[in-house]
Symmetry: C2
Subunit: 272 residues, 2 copies
Amino acid sequence: MGRTAFFVSDGTGITAETLGNSLLSQFEGIPFRRVTIPYIDTAEKAAAAVARINTATQEDGASAIVFDTIVNVDIRDAISRAQGYMVDVFATFLKPLEQQLGVESSYTVGKCHSINEFSRYHRRIESVNYALDNDDGGRQQQYDKADIILVGVSRCGKTPTCLYMALQFGVHAANYPLTMDDLVNPGLPDILMQHKKKIYGLTIDPFQLSAIRHERRANSQYSSLSQCELEVREAEKRFKAEGITFINTTTFSIEEIATRIMDDVGLDRRQL
Amino acid sequence: MGRTAFFVSDGTGITAETLGNSLLSQFEGIPFRRVTIPYIDTAEKAAAAVARINTATQEDGASAIVFDTIVNVDIRDAISRAQGYMVDVFATFLKPLEQQLGVESSYTVGKCHSINEFSRYHRRIESVNYALDNDDGGRQQQYDKADIILVGVSRCGKTPTCLYMALQFGVHAANYPLTMDDLVNPGLPDILMQHKKKIYGLTIDPFQLSAIRHERRANSQYSSLSQCELEVREAEKRFKAEGITFINTTTFSIEEIATRIMDDVGLDRRQL
């Protein structure tokens, strides 16, 4: 039972994977095996990919689904002769787009990621460094340069969200952990209130928080459910009292948390 | 002059953006303004999106290009009435896929990122923590748990690549900086040779390295071209002598570096 899905590309395969996974996720009942084959840029590599697709089709007893974003015509032709169901992404959309735009497209391998590469790379590296320097309340004197400051209790998802925002969007994302030292006092720390407009709260279900903390420090006060409940309650109370927008991360992926925050505060996704 | 491209979604918009940018990058001559509108999940938000599309079309004097990955039929219909050229991603591919798979798709909003969410989230967080703990040569006793150990001179791209691998693929990626302390000795440090199979080298053009280091410490010995040339030459010499595969990061995006390394060493991209 089950089917195999291939994501085949002459570049990284990220476009084929992203689109393909979105489409496959609409078919809940079917267990797909997923195989990404990037950098298919020679006839030899294409032949090897075809062999893998044919084997999967034979073993599954049903056509493999092949999402392909190959721009080179010869290699695309070779792949299309495999025993699989082809979802030819570029061919499907590029011809109509050429008509609409009134120009021919340049079938250049991996074009997508080579535009303006140095400045984009540079900006991302710089943003990752910023996130690392300003992780966990470090270097609060750099909050002037922050695009956003995520605030929440330990292990509620601040660091991965900041790093994702830096890598994906080139945003300067700092984060500040609310510890018991903060939560025994009323209100929020002065350093945060000085940058109140940039603050965004994260919260989490105490059960999940306890499970996550348990991985880090098993059977500790820190990971106990009562401690997690206390911290989450006190943090949320302060967000509400100060009118700070916050998001519950429990059921969201990192992409979703980051996207929702950017959307909420109107941060431009195209800093890169 | 120029055209506006919209990426419209009832989810994060990542699929629409990724596909749309890949397609637009095939049209080099045209300067596109790019606007992402995520979370269009009500009639009101759809109407606001339509208004933005219409305004762009009027201001550009040419149809906006609209990449849409909306699964809700009513909202998709509303968007399709905008004055723009619609690239309807799901409608184009889902119907043929339903036929091929012999089942109907579930038009569930944001389905893609909610599958198996907790374990995926958990694995990514754990991998990000691993990358942070094992950044810059930290905790070398954890190298047993590494899937890969990136080695190279300071500022050649190790940290962003490790973090990307952790976030995107859930891989345990450590990194070790080759400093002058290492490079005055012959060969590579013992700790690396003990894990030789997991080692992958990064190198970089000395001019670019100098520019990047200059941002961090201007006009220092550290950022001087002569120092960068020396370190890069000595690092590459050791990679070659020990038969360690390495990649020159100068002209690659972080996605490309990460993907090429994973492909080279045969690491599974689907750990999540």
